[in-house]
């Protein structure tokens, strides 16, 4: 089994969902989460506050730098994520397909590095 990060991509400039549509997507994401839990593929998941709430800390150099805002200026930002466990990419893509349909956003699928003892 491999763990995959399923990132929900929020892109700027997409048409805004109506209040009802937002409610519908909450309901369908909730149903999707329950299915994921029941299937035993769920590892962790969460939705994020908007990128404007982010703070960057850089302690790689001698000084610690603290900056307001997200690190990347990109128009596409992480909106939330699932971490799932799947047999292979095809299974992870299937989960991502259902997740993307539920939250109505594109989902990026990226494998985690294997644990050292699995290498």
């Amino acid at each position: 089994m491999t763990q995959y990060l399923l990132s929900v991509i929020h892109a700027e400039g997409l048409p805004h969902l109506s209040e009802d549509e937002v409610q519908e997507s909450f309901t369908s994401v909730d149903a999707f989460n329950h299915e994921l839990l029941a299937s035993g593929r769920w590892v962790f998941a969460g939705g994020l506050q908007p990128p404007s709430s982010a703070t960057v800390v850089d302690a790689a150099g001698a000084d610690v730098l603290i900056t307001d805002g997200p690190f990347s200026e990109a128009k596409e930002q992480l909106g939330g994520f699932w971490i799932v466990e799947a047999a292979d990419l095809d299974e992870a893509l299937d989960i991502a397909k259902a997740g993307s349909a539920a939250c109505r956003n594109p989902v990026e699928v990226r494998p985690f590095q294997a644990e050292p003892d699995q290498a």
């Binding site: 990419l89 893509l93 494998p111």
Partner: protein, 414 residues
């Protein structure tokens, strides 16, 4: 098959025989090794080592009766040696796999071997890989072309092609792209992606009219791979693609004369390959009988109508327009509409066709300008035709086609 007596073959002949065998067997041998080893790189290295051994031994021992089985066994042994030598952490596991799964001699008609190749086709053409990477991997692993050959065929530096292949293999490993025949629901859905790769390889070879000879070989390679897929997957679209390739390839010799492109209506039909046409027509009849029309089958049927006519004037244009109507319904793209318009011109006249063409937004696509030029010319709108030829010429770099268009442009009344 009896052993080939090495003494009966001169070295050049033997070299050619060996390289043909190697190319024909490569996909089969690599496919089996990848399943048994669970590692593409290890499988490829073992197969290359086995090929080196074959090239050393076969000139003296003769080519074994079942070269594919010989290569598979030898490569398997090389892999075990390597795993032991390198003492990999998971060596025991892999070795156990090799021992349990030591499949018998591969026979072309044998199920598991065919399944191995099918796994390889679907892995190389996985939708999670970019199209250009799928093409490269398919030619490398299934087709057995060297990285240098693929690089030359696609006119990119060898390092670029090597990187493309290495990255794709790394992604297959890191993302765990499965090495198996897709589940029922994906099998047909992904077949389209597989066929798209094969058609792209074919066109890359067919449309190349100059440069290194290997580019033309790509068409042959695509036909060979499509034949393989046709034996593995029973689907009328595979037959349709194969028929389309054969009927296109059949006209190859007539397509260029003295470095100038010859359009279909002016080709010397005596130069067409009658054998390929017969086979293509048989395949088209077989797909039509399945009654599950798809884009490749319809394009093949259109080509069958063209190749059925003894000369261009005998072409059944109404049937061609009907086939394009069906194709347009399945694949509503402006390019299909443009091709349909060419047939409409023959049936209903250039003015009707031009009205269709003018509505299409294809001004970045040179055939649109060429079609406009030809229709305007037939309507005696010479000045407009001339600028349409100019617009087409500005968009292409194929020398044979440029020569053809310059000639057409120059033949307009002054």
């Amino acid at each position: 098959m009896p052993d080939v007596d090495p003494a009966a073959l001169d070295p050049a002949h033997l070299d050619r025989a060996i390289s043909e065998i190697v190319r024909a067997e490569h996909g089969r041998v690599v496919a089996t090794l990848i399943r048994r080893l669970g590692d593409i790189d290890l499988a490829e290295d073992a197969v290359s080592e086995a090929l080196v051994t074959a090239l050393e031994k076969w000139p003296t021992t003769g080519i074994p009766p079942n070269p594919g089985a010989w290569l598979t066994t030898t490569a398997g042994n090389k892999a075990i040696d390597r795993i032991r030598r390198e003492g990999k952490r998971n060596a025991k596991h892999t070795e156990a796999l090799m021992l349990i799964d030591d499949s018998p001699a591969p026979d072309p008609d044998e199920g598991p071997v065919a399944d191995d190749r099918l796994r390889l086709v679907y892995t190389c053409c996985h939708p999670a890989l970019a199209l250009e990477n799928r093409v490269a991997l398919t030619l490398r692993l299934l087709g057995g072309l060297t990285v240098a050959e693929i690089a030359r065929a696609f006119l990119v530096p060898e390092t670029t092609m090597a990187q493309r292949i290495t990255r794709s293999k790394a992604k297959i490993k890191a993302a765990h792209i499965p090495y198996r025949i897709p589940r029922e629901q994906d099998l047909v859905a992904r077949l389209g992606g597989v066929l798209a790769v094969l058609y792209l390889i074919f066109n890359e070879g067919y449309l190349a009219t100059e440069g290194p000879g290997l580019r033309a070989d790509l068409s042959t390679e695509a036909i060979r791979l499509t034949r393989q897929v046709a034996t593995l997957v029973a689907d009328p679209e595979v037959d349709g693609l194969l028929a389309l390739m054969l009927l296109t390839e059949a006209r190859h010799a007539a397509r260029i004369r003295d470095g100038v492109l010859v359009t279909l209506d002016l080709q010397d039909r005596g130069l067409w390959d009658a054998g390929l046409i017969v086979e293509g027509h048989q395949l088209v009849r077989r797909c039509l009988a399945a009654n599950r029309p798809g884009p490749f089958q319809l394009q093949a049927a259109i080509n069958a109508v063209h190749t059925d006519a003894l000369d261009a004037s005998m072409t059944d244009w109404s049937q061609i327009v009907q086939l394009y109507d069906q194709l347009l319904a399945l694949q509503p793209s402006p390019v299909v509409a443009l091709n349909r318009a060419v047939a409409v011109a023959e049936l209903d006249g250039p003015d009707v066709a031009l009205a269709i063409v003018e509505r299409l937004e294809l001004d970045k696509y040179h055939p649109w300008h060429v079609t406009r030029a030809e229709l305007l010319r037939r309507l005696d709108r010479d000045a407009e035709a001339r600028s349409a030829y100019d617009a087409a010429l500005a968009l292409i770099d194929n020398e044979a086609e440029q020569a053809h268009l310059r000639r057409r442009r120059a033949s307009l009344p002054a």
